[in-house]
Every structure is written in structure tokens, then in C-alpha cells.
């Protein structure tokens, strides 16, 4: 097993070298930084699916939350907004939200004054409606005001980006807690559909709340935690060298985070907590009869995994320096991660890491590769008198979706446990 993993990682290293040689170092260095962030996200899914058997198809939502969080924390302060009436109006909207929440909570306690059954249900729906109207009545004018006269949008806080990563994790944890609390009782495929639905709701909100996230107008440039290429160039370095040096700095920081996370979750997996989680995954009925609180443990693992997704999403956004809500797609940000974990090996952290780096490289390389193939075929068909292939650029960009689908179907058919499968240690009688 160890030999196989080493051989696979060795092969991956050779692949990186080949890509570095063919595509150039600036390209490869930035793909490696992204691969590190995706590895973190894949580890998050590996915790949820590999350790806990939870079917989270809402990864895109958590990545967006992380991205929005780091934008909010690290983008420079927007003085125009803070000098206007905007904060006051948002405060009123928040107050309305709190009152609405109180109304809903009160309606849920209606059985104490003797309102039960259908009447309580009707009252709860009415309370939700009143709370919604109350909130909208305060928020809509505030949003309209901020977008037109109050500086356009809220802006950032101007803090250090690493703080933004932490906040991304915290925010993702909070949302995962709410999502988990309401959805984890569902069985697997319902959970998948519910999480997709929730991630679409999150996407619609972030995309359309222009006052908070600038929506489709996008936010850039988001600062880096490490020195930017421009800083190196100011020091007299040439452009290619500065790109590589800056990305190497970012990559090191990402590696530190990744290493720390890897160490922590591997320890947790090997310890009693990991054994308990595997017991719940493999047979939750038996686990609960042994006195384990299955629902609470599953919620715990859902939140832990989502924290990693939030941090990874934040790292990606601060690396590319632009937060564009409309660039988030279920294919790129949910299904891709799933393929990474399944191809790598669910339940094995090294497998998830391997799958993340490999699939990310395949994903980014399949476009130039298929363009080269198309160019070749086109050259050949032109010479043969059949004419060139039209729209090569657009077509090869779509090729990676097909490659992704092909990889996952082949993996499910021939290596359902992944390339580096989970190793289940059996303790013997002495242990």
C-alpha cells in the first residue's frame, strides 16, 4: 500500500515537472497554489464523506461564503459608505431581522398558551410571513440607498487576509451548523438534493445582494497575505522572476495551512474520535445503540468539513484577487471536488490530497491539450481538403467537462474505492 502511494505521488511529481517544462513556470506555479487550496477543500469533503458518510453536494455554497468573507475582511475600507446614512439603515434592517426572528420563535412556542396542531402551524406560517415582510420593508430601502447614494456597496474592513481566511472558516461553520441542523436528518440522496438547493440559494443571495458583495459587478483587487509580484518588481526584479517569487511565497503559506490541517485531521482520524466516526458511518444504528449521539456527531463532522471548505474558498479568492459571484458553477466548484475525492480515495487523507492535485492539473491541462489536438486534426483536415475545424478555442474550453465526466464514470466502474483507498486498521486482541 505504501509503495503504491509512493509510486503514485512520484508519478504526480513527474507530471508536475512535465507541465512545468511544457507550460512554463509562471503557469505551473499559480496552478500549484490553486491545487493547494483545492486540496484543502477536498480534505474538507473527505472529512464529511470519507469519515462521516455525509453527502454534501453544496460545496459551491461554502466556497462562495469563504470568498465573500475574505473580500469583506481584507478589502480596503469604503469611507463613502461609512460616512453616509447606510450603516444606520442597515442597523435598522438588522433590528427588523431580530424582531422577525423573535416573532417566529414566539409563534413556535404557541403551544404554551394552548394553540396546538393546525392552528399552531398556521400561526407559524403567518409569523414567518410577517417577519419576512418586516425585514424586507427595512432592507429594501437600505439596499437601494447604499447602491445609489451610499458608496455603492459596504466595502471591506481592511484587515489582514489571513484574518479573512479565518473568518471564512467561521462563517462557513455558522452556515454549516444551520444547514446541518435542518438537513442532516434526511437520508443520503435527499440530503444531496437539499444541499444543492441550499448552495443555489446562497449563490442567488450573494449574486444579487449588490449592497453587500457588489454582486455581478465583482470586487478586485483583493490584497494578498504575502508580497505581490508588483512589490518584487518595485525592488528591481524582472517580471517572470517576480511572478514566481510572489507565488512561491503564497504557495508556502498555503502549504503551511495545508500541512497543519493534514496533521490535525490525521491525528483525529487515528484517534478514538475517528474510530467513532467510522463506526457511525458504517452502521449508525449499532453506533447509537452503543450510546453515541449520532445526530450531534454528524453535525460536528459536517461543520468541521465545511470550515475547511470555507478556508479553501477564501484562499482561492484572495489568490486570484477577484471575487466574481457569477463565476461560481456547480460543475467547477462542487462536482469537481467530488471527483477529486472519489478518484483519490474517500476516507484516506493522502488519497484526497492526491486526487485534488491530480484532478486540478487534469482540469487545467485538458483545455490546452485538447486545443493542441484540435489544432493538429484541423491542420490535417485542412490539408486533406475538408477545411478547418471552426471555433477551436470555444470547443476546447468545453472539453474539460467531458474529461471530468469520463474520469468519474471510469473511476466508479473500475476503481470504486479510489486510487489510494482507505486503510482500515484492525487492532488485534492485544490492542
Amino acid at each position: 500500500m505504501i509503495q503504491r502511494s509512493l509510486a503514485l505521488f512520484g508519478g504526480l511529481f513527474v507530471l508536475i515537472l512535465v507541465i512545468g517544462w511544457v507550460m512554463g513556470l509562471p503557469f505551473t506555479s499559480s496552478r500549484l497554489v490553486e491545487a493547494a487550496a483545492y486540496a484543502l477543500i477536498a480534505l474538507g469533503l473527505n472529512i464529511q464523506w470519507g469519515y462521516g458518510g455525509l453527502f454534501n453536494f453544496g460545496i459551491m455554497g461554502f466556497l462562495m461564503v469563504g470568498g465573500a468573507a475574505v473580500t469583506f475582511i481584507s478589502y480596503p475600507v469604503n469611507p463613502e459608505f461609512w460616512g453616509s446614512d447606510g450603516p444606520m439603515m442597515l442597523g435598522r434592517a438588522l433590528f427588523a431581522f431580530a424582531i422577525g426572528a423573535l416573532i417566529v420563535l414566539a409563534a413556535r412556542q404557541a403551544h404554551r398558551i394552548g394553540i396546538t396542531g393546525k392552528w399552531k402551524g398556521a400561526l407559524t406560517v403567518l409569523a414567518w410571513f410577517i417577519a419576512y415582510v418586516l425585514y424586507r420593508s427595512q432592507l429594501d430601502p437600505a439596499a437601494a440607498y447604499i447602491e445609489s447614494a451610499g458608496g455603492g456597496w459596504v466595502g471591506g474592513l481592511g484587515a489582514h487576509p489571513v484574518l479573512g481566511w479565518v473568518f471564512g472558516g467561521v462563517l462557513a461553520a455558522g452556515i454549516a451548523y444551520i444547514v446541518g441542523k435542518i438537513c442532516l436528518g434526511l437520508r443520503t440522496d435527499y440530503l444531496a438534493i437539499a444541499t444543492i438547493g441550499i448552495s443555489e440559494i446562497i449563490r442567488a443571495l450573494i449574486k444579487n445582494m449588490d449592497w453587500l458583495t457588489r454582486g455581478t459587478l465583482t470586487v478586485s483587487p483583493i490584497p494578498w497575505p504575502t508580497p505581490l509580484p508588483q512589490d518584487y518588481q518595485a525592488g528591481g526584479m524582472d517580471i517572470a522572476g517576480s511572478l514566481i517569487a510572489a507565488r512561491a511565497g503564497y504557495f508556502l503559506l498555503a502549504l503551511v495551512v495545508l500541512g497543519l490541517v493534514m496533521w490535525l485531521i490525521s491525528r483525529a482520524y487515528a484517534g478514538p474520535w475517528g474510530r467513532m466516526m467510522r463506526a457511525i458511518r458504517d452502521n449508525h444504528i449499532a453506533a447509537s445503540s452503543m450510546g453515541k449521539n449520532v445526530t450531534a456527531r454528524q453535525l460536528e463532522i459536517f461543520v468541521f468539513g465545511s470550515v475547511l471548505m470555507g478556508i479553501g474558498g477564501a484562499m482561492l479568492v484572495s489568490f486570484v484577487q477577484i471575487f466574481d459571484p457569477s463565476s461560481y458553477q456547480p460543475i467547477n466548484h462542487t462536482f469537481l471536488i467530488w471527483v477529486m475525492v472519489i478518484v483519490g480515495g474517500a476516507g484516506n487523507n493522502w488519497g484526497a490530497l492526491f486526487g485534488a492535485v491530480l484532478l486540478w492539473l487534469v482540469w487545467v491541462v485538458s483545455e490546452p491539450l485538447s486545443k493542441a489536438v484540435f489544432d493538429f486534426v484541423s491542420y490535417w483536415s485542412t490539408n486533406a481538403g475538408w477545411g478547418a475545424i471552426p471555433e477551436i478555442e470555444a470547443r476546447s474550453a468545453q472539453m474539460r467537462v467531458f474529461v471530468l465526466g469520463l474520469v468519474i464514470t471510469i473511476a466508479l466502474r473500475f476503481a470504486p474505492k479510489g486510487l489510494i483507498p482507505e486503510v482500515v486498521k484492525r487492532e488485534d486482541a492485544r490492542g
Binding site: A192, E200, I201
Partner: protein
């Protein structure tokens, strides 16, 4: 009266059209879930693929110079449905049957269906690019404007020819499906297998045949839904990928495994979406004349802004899953 006609145009007709599309898609999903017990995500690609097959056939007809009184896309629909059914059978044979034989969990099949989704979508985009196509490049889309001035309205009632055809065809196929499921031997076998697959097998039902029939029906209906949608709007590679979740919402709201539930769920989601974004001021504007000054209706009085239209379906989906996961018509829950 103008307001009521406007309401009919904006809510009744578009809700009905949307509901028909959702219902046709949801029937396939719910049948597959009932028989094979997994959530088939690639249904969206069956719809898009079916629409593209119909588009190719319609283009071929146009190239051969065949002119038809009704939209060509509609005339070629039966052929396209047969081809889509064969495509569905092939997908099952190539991707799902080997996994089923291995005894894979429904979850694995679900992931495999996502893989199939990606592959078909990749292929469609490879051959057709990312642009949009119209069935009405060589012929005109007929729009019926029914004059309603006799009841005192200044606006006509507007409905397009594809929309009329869509509503009629949905109705016909739903009735046909109803008779198939309740009267024919094969339909009864399907319902028996949906209730209890093991029991159906021991009582001598040919389960392999039932599985094949399920794919044929699902593929044909998906092709119909996709083509109808493409006739109503435009044909693009992510035509159905964007609405697969509302379709799932329709299937779940109706109760997974329940064919009639899927129809009810589809119409419910369709109307909920259009009602939620409808600007109620447009309907109640005459009241402004009687209402006092402090209670005038605002210019915008919609429950949710238009950009959240699809979100309505997701909210209904999540709420249904929480409050009543078995759906309106007690569907399968295990």
C-alpha cells in the same frame, strides 16, 4: 378587466407552461426513482440531448425542403423521442447496469449519473458550442393575440403556438401514461415493482423488461419536455441543466415514485414561481382609486424580486424535505 387579462398572461399561462415542462421532466425522474431507487441527475441531459436531436432532425427537414403547417420541431418530435429512448437505454446499459450488477449503493449510481451529465454536456458543447439556437430560423413562431375588448380589456390575451401545443401534448401524454399504468399489464408490473421489487420478481414479473420500459418512457418524455422548452424559449447547451433542481423539487414535492404526484408537483412549482415574482400592484391597481392616500399601493409589490425566481423552487424543495419528506402523495421514503 385589463388587469385580469394581464394576470392571466403573466401568471396563468406562463405558470401553466412552466408547470408542464417541470411535470414532464419530473415524471421521468420519479419513475426512475420508483423502479431503480436512485436520483437520476442526468435527466437534464436527456432533456437537452433530446432537444438537440429534435433540432438536428428539424434542420434536416428544412434542408430537404419539407414545409409543415405546424412547427417542424413539433412534427419531428415522435422520431426524436424514439431516438432519445434508445439513447436512454444505451446510457443505462453502458453506465448504470454494470454498477447495479455489482450491487452498488444508490449513492454510487447518483454520482455516476452526475458523471453522465458532465459527459453529455461536454459532448453537446463540443459539437454545438456554447451559443443558443432557435427552432424558428426558417419559419415564424405564430403568436395568437386573442382580442378581449368585448369584456372591456385594452390588452389582448397572448399565447404562442408552441405553448398551446405544449399544453395539449402534456395533457395527452399524461392521460396516456395514466391508462398505461392502470390498465396495461406492463404498467401494472411497473407499479408492482415500484412498490416492492423483490416481491414483484418472485411473482414472475420480468424486472429487466420493466427497467427497460422505464428508461424508454423516461427518455421519450425527457425528449418531449426538452424540445417543448426549446420551442418556447431558445435551445442552448445548459437548457435543462439550469432547471434540473426545480424538476427534482417537483418530483419530491409530489412524492418520489408517484407519477401523479410529479404532475401535481410540477404545476405547483411552476405556479409558485410565477406567483412569487408577480407584481401584485398590476392586478390591484384599480383599488388605488378607492384606497385612502396613506394606503396607496407601491409600484412594486412582488413577494420576491424577479432575480430570485428559481430560488423559490429551492426554498419549496428544502421546506418540503423538512416538513414532509415523503411529499404530498406519500412517496417512497426508504
Amino acid at each position: 378587466m385589463t388587469e385580469i387579462v394581464f394576470f392571466i398572461n403573466q401568471v396563468v399561462i406562463s405558470g401553466l407552461v412552466l408547470g408542464c415542462i417541470y411535470a414532464l421532466g419530473a415524471i421521468g425522474i420519479t419513475l426512475i426513482f420508483g423502479i431503480l431507487r436512485f436520483a437520476h441527475f442526468a435527466h437534464s441531459e436527456l432533456m437537452t440531448g433530446g432537444a438537440f436531436i429534435a433540432f438536428l432532425l428539424a434542420s434536416a427537414f428544412a434542408a430537404w425542403g419539407i414545409v409543415t403547417p405546424i412547427p417542424t420541431g413539433f412534427v419531428v418530435l415522435p422520431i426524436a423521442m424514439v431516438l432519445a429512448a434508445i439513447l436512454a437505454l444505451g446510457i443505462d446499459k453502458g453506465f448504470y447496469a454494470p454498477l447495479r450488477k455489482r450491487g452498488a449503493k444508490p449513492v454510487t449510481l447518483l454520482i455516476a449519473s452526475i458523471g453522465v451529465t458532465l459527459m453529455i454536456q461536454g459532448l453537446i458543447r463540443l459539437f454545438f458550442g456554447a451559443g443558443s439556437y432557435s427552432f424558428f430560423e426558417t419559419e415564424t413562431k405564430e403568436i395568437f393575440r386573442i382580442d378581449t375588448s368585448t369584456i372591456g380589456s385594452t390588452r389582448p390575451l397572448v399565447i404562442t403556438e408552441p405553448q398551446v401545443l405544449m399544453i395539449v401534448v402534456t395533457l395527452v401524454s399524461v392521460i396516456a401514461l395514466h391508462f398505461f399504468l392502470t390498465r396495461s399489464r406492463l404498467g401494472k408490473a411497473m407499479r408492482a415493482m415500484a412498490d416492492n421489487a423483490d416481491l414483484a420478481q418472485v411473482s414472475g414479473i420480468n424486472t429487466a423488461l420493466v427497467v427497460r420500459v422505464t428508461w424508454v418512457i423516461a427518455g421519450a418524455l425527457a425528449c418531449m419536455a426538452g424540445t417543448m422548452l426549446a420551442l418556447d424559449v431558445t435551445l442552448k447547451p445548459d437548457l435543462a441543466f439550469n432547471i434540473i433542481l426545480p424538476i427534482f423539487a417537483a418530483a419530491i414535492v409530489g412524492g418520489l415514485g408517484q407519477a401523479y404526484g410529479a404532475i401535481a408537483g410540477g404545476l405547483l412549482i411552476g405556479f409558485a414561481e410565477t406567483l412569487a415574482v408577480f407584481n401584485w400592484t398590476m392586478l390591484f391597481r384599480p383599488l388605488n382609486a378607492v384606497l385612502p392616500d396613506w394606503l396607496q399601493l407601491p409600484a412594486q409589490l412582488a413577494l420576491v424580486p424577479t432575480e430570485y425566481k428559481l430560488t423559490v423552487a429551492f426554498v419549496i424543495l428544502v421546506v418540503t424535505l423538512l416538513v414532509r419528506p415523503t411529499g404530498i402523495f406519500k412517496g417512497a421514503s426508504s
